[in-house]
Every structure is written in structure tokens, then in C-alpha cells.
Symmetry: C2
Subunit: 238 residues, 2 copies
DNA sequence: TAGTGGTCTAGACCACTCC
DNA sequence: GAGTGGTCTAGACCACTAA
């Protein structure tokens, strides 16, 4: 019998299915290589090849002596990782975020559509301002969450850390699996100009992000506007 | 005797060295797996693993029945791949480029420094304007080449194709090995505004690129400014 | 038909982690 | 010491390419 699909791809699909179904979430240990080999009746070498591929895809990572784990999403890959301040040395810059608004309200038709929920669904709106050196406002972030998924987060007493996702994952056991980002630039609107202490019309960089949980379900949409003069993004082409 | 470095890494280094030294250039066939195995006295499986790694890194690609080749640089990975026009569907848009200036002149101190050549070295300056739908100017590109490396390119009779690198690689046998890009945004200066038919101060996206040939030698620096309203860049975070 | 890469196996031995 | 992943080998057989 001739196979069309190689065995290692079957193994890959098996593992990916465990993840996509939510059966395994980021940080979880997957079955060991000998276990997978026995379960799927293939050699351990074939399992290794399948895992190798997923490791290269950054969906898994290995830890010798411990096992193989499902990767956590890495927001260091965000296009906004490269906000810099002052010199152009590409130094790491810490951005402190302050929550300026936090309230529940029904979503507009447009926003609900992006969140893939019925219009009027109750959402949690969070607005934050990012500072560099604790004083210079460089970005403003408008975020909408599906309120049901983060119950109580509207409570002012819950402290929101700079990396909001950390809180969501730990407190609400809501695995963040992936996100899509679109970067554009535009002239600054009045409201944003006031917050960022710049002239309206000054260029700002705009990042729109859609964040997903297990099963490709949208949990958050976010728009971040940042001072263009404090932004640069660097890559290599090979 | 205990090894610190695994054998497959030695094989990887061997292949990478062939490439970095200019001994193999993009498009070349590397020695076959059995040949490498014999040369380096390792098993073919170990060679496979080394090549696998380099294939994942996109430094090599395989073609069953033919062999393994050194990858060509892929400018589709440029941050400017995502210029779009009209609807926001992320459609592929063809940008036609017209050469508006082309002349030899000694480089300024600053530019020569970026090109890593002595100040005053003769450079070829090329200015091009990019159109969408053959009529709407969306970007302008200022490029400086080390003149010695592309002799005769200043001649108006030589047609410059949209992808200038294709010409350079074929006509001058100058392998392009990699490039670095930095993306920023700013308010449009007067000269650029005139060309792009927009108001000065309107946001433009600015891409600075440094292009390298074998041996990590710089061959070109380029600055591209494009209408921000026609630009968007999308990625996924996992 | 010869040569190339692609898949898959079985097994040896090593290195790290945890109990 | 038991279990995990990491390295390396030898060899069988398949699939594609080119002459």
C-alpha cells in the first residue's frame, strides 16, 4: 500500500490536533517520544522528525531530561517591540503602561464583528497609555475584550500588569494561542494628540492586533497608536 | 575523546563556510550528501540533519533528484512587500518603477561611511519613482551603489528592471547575499511631497536598506519613502 | 540506469532531570 | 536508577531527474 502523506506528517497532525483542540495548552508537556511512537505505531525516529519540524515552527520546544512542551506565544515578536527612545542605538527600552480607562459596555456593530460575536455583546474596554522614562507618553492603546471571558477584570482593584496577557493566562486560564498584527501609519487625530502631547496631524504609527485563544476564537482586538518619531522596526532579509 | 560540538554542527559550519567565502554563490549546487559524508567522514544521516537545519534557516533548498542548492535572497520578505492600493483586501499590487535620475558622483562622508568605503569614493546614484496602476506615484527611492562594482550601469541605455538586483546579479555576477531593513515613519519633506503629489507634512513610511554581497561587503544603501496611506504590513505572532 | 534527495527503521550510546 | 530528549550510525527502500 502506497502512502501519499509521509508518516511524520501524520504524527505532526496528531500533535497539532492535541493543541488546536485545546486538549493541550501552551506550557503543557506533550507525550514522550516513546509514548507517541507506541501510540501511533511508528519508530521513535519518525516521532523525532515530526517534533523537529514543530520545534522549527516554534510550536513546541524541548527540554532535555524533562520533555517536550507546547510553546507559549511570544509577544516579543510584536511589531511594536522596537519602540525606542532617545538615541538610535536600538537599545532596549522599557515602556510602562498606565491604565486610563476600564469599563464594561456593549460593543458597536463594527467591533463585535471583528471579535466575531453578536452585535451588542458586552465588552470590556481598556485604555492604556505607555510611557518611556516614566514621563514621556509615547503610545496609547485601545483594547476590547469579550467580557464573559475575563469576568471581574473591570474591577479597578485588579492591577493590570504591563503585559496584560500574563494576567489573562494565569487568572482566567485563557490560553493565548496566536495574534495577527497589521502596521500602518497616519496623521494623528486630536484625542490621541492630546494624550501624546504632540500636534494633531503629526505622524503616528498604528498597530491593529487581533488575539486568539484555543479553537481560533477571538478574545481581544486592540489598536495601538504610537509616536512615529520614537518608532523603528528592523529586520534582515536573506 | 568527548566532543563539545555535535558532528552535524561541524557539517553545517563547513557548508556555511563554502557560502560565506564566496566559494559557492546563490543558485549553486552544493556537494551531494554522500560526497559530504565521505569528505567529512560522517554518516549520511548526519549530513542530512545538517542540511535540514540550513534548509529551515532558508540558506539552502533541496530539489529531489537534482541536489541541494544555495538559496537566493528573497526580496519578497521586504517590509515594503505590503504596499497596497485602493481596497484593503491585501491584494497583490504591482508597482512599476521609473528611473528618474542616474549619475556618478563622489559620495558624502555620511553615505560613504554607511557603504563602508573611504569618503569621496565614486558612487552611482539612482533615483526611482514607483507607480501603482501606471499613474499614481506611491513611493520614491534613493539608492547609492559603489560604482566600481557595477561599471557602466550609469549608462542611460542600460534598462533598469523593477527588480534592480536581478540585473546586478546577472550582468555583474555580484551575488546579493543579504540585506538589512529599518522601517520608520515621518512627515513628508517638500521634495518628496512634490513627487508623490501630496502635502508636505503628510505621513510617509520610510524604509532604509543596506544590501550586502559575499564576505559581508556592503554594495548598496537605499532609502525608500512611500505614501503612508497606501502602506500596511501584516504579520502573525505565535 | 545512475545519481540525487526523501522516508523509515532499529539500535547504540550520551546528557540531563528528578526522585 | 528510571525516564526524557540528543547524537550518530547503517541500511533498506522509494521518488524524482537526467542522460
Amino acid at each position: 500500500m502506497r502512502r501519499v502523506e509521509p508518516l511524520y506528517q501524520i504524527v505532526e497532525s496528531y500533535i497539532v490536533e492535541l493543541i488546536d483542540s485545546g486538549n493541550l495548552i501552551p506550557g503543557d508537556l506533550i507525550p514522550s517520544e516513546p509514548q507517541l511512537a507506541a501510540t501511533l505505531a511508528v519508530s521513535q525516529g519518525t516521532v523525532k522528525k515530526a517534533i523537529d519540524n514543530l520545534v522549527w515552527q516554534k510550536r513546541l520546544y524541548r527540554h532535555q531530561g524533562k520533555g517536550t512542551y507546547v510553546s507559549r506565544i511570544d509577544f516579543n515578536n510584536s511589531l511594536f517591540r522596537f519602540f525606542s527612545y532617545g538615541d538610535e542605538k536600538g537599545r532596549e527600552v522599557r515602556i510602562r503602561k498606565e491604565t486610563t480607562k476600564r469599563k464594561l459596555k456593549p460593543g458597536t456593530v463594527k467591533i463585535c464583528k471583528q471579535l466575531e460575536v453578536p452585535a451588542g455583546t458586552v465588552l470590556l474596554h481598556i485604555e492604556r497609555v505607555g510611557y518611556v522614562d516614566n514621563e514621556l507618553p509615547v503610545l496609547i492603546e485601545y483594547s476590547w475584550w469579550i467580557a464573559d471571558l475575563v469576568p471581574g477584570l473591570e474591577n479597578e482593584e485588579i492591577h493590570i500588569p504591563d503585559l496584560l496577557y500574563a494576567l489573562v493566562v494565569e487568572k482566567y486560564r485563557l490560553p493565548i494561542t496566536r495574534a495577527e498584527e497589521t502596521l500602518t501609519a497616519e496623521g494623528c487625530d486630536k484625542a490621541t494628540a492630546t494624550v501624546l502631547e504632540i500636534e494633531p496631524g503629526t505622524p503616528v504609527v498604528v498597530l491593529k492586533r487581533t488575539t486568539y485563544t484555543a479553537g481560533n476564537r477571538v478574545v481581544e482586538i486592540r489598536t495601538t497608536k504610537g509616536r512615529a518619531d520614537k518608532f523603528s522596526y528592523k529586520t534582515e532579509i536573506r
